[in-house]
Amino acid sequence: MRYGSSVEVRLPSELGYEKVAMSTAASMAALMGFSDDRIEDLKTAVAEACINAMEHGNQLNSSLCVNVVLSSSDDELEVKVMDDGRGIDTKPTAPNIDRKVLGEEDPRGMGMFLIQSLVDEAEWHKGPPGKSFVRLVIKLDKENS
């Protein structure tokens, strides 16, 4: 794969469309030679990032797009998922299943944790509208993260 190829996808902020981004990302990762296991990890991470961008970033306002930029280099695939919200810069925290099962913690709130757990790098950036993003990286030589 030529160094620096990139693919861009724009999705409406409508739940369900994250599946389109999952397919695009999976296909790009397959072109780069990632294993099926790593592609599954990437798909879940991309889905969660897109859902957050739609729900929390764009408040499900269907006139706003989620922009996904997939950039390949020799040994890694970088995915940026951008939204029009204010973004977030706190780190994900691990869900506490005991507290969840006791009803002391929202049963949701696992997306950022999953993203961080499934990819090799994950960073959240606050930015002006359209420039808040999460950046994920999966590395080709690191078959098991």
Binding site: G16, R108, S117
Partner: protein, 119 residues
């Protein structure tokens, strides 16, 4: 935009001889599945002590879908003596369910046979 979650309920015998209610979900397991999934869970007779959640025919699963399963674990825990098992997940989702802690409150098995063998 999400594939409607479909639900089916049946009964099987565990290795222990106990009766087990199996609730099968197909389609997407996502935030839109909440009503259908919780209704299916509430339809199970309250006296049933052993439940298996079957995801063999589930397609896409996201963290909001996993939160619905945690809601079932919460209700089972609050109600007391009820064991919940999960089967039919792909290896990827077995890993994901384990990552978020679900495996602490529900045994995760590859398929129905191994799930029944453990109950």
């Amino acid at each position: 935009m999400q594939a409607a979650t479909k639900v089916a309920q049946r009964t099987a015998k565990a290795a222990s001889g106990d009766s087990v209610t199996i609730v099968s979900f197909s389609g997407d397991i996502a935030s839109t599945s909440k009503d259908a999934m919780m209704a299916a869970y509430h339809e199970v007779d309250p006296t049933v002590a052993k439940i298996l959640l079957d995801f063999t025919k589930a397609g896409y699963i996201n963290s909001s879908g996993i939160a619905i399963i945690i809601q079932m674990l919460l209700e089972a825990h609050a109600a007391g003596q009820r064991t919940i098992g999960i089967f039919g997940l792909t290896p990827h989702f077995q890993k994901v369910f384990t990552m978020v802690g679900v495996a602490k409150y529900a045994t995760i098995s590859a398929d129905e046979a191994s799930a029944l063998a453990q109950l």
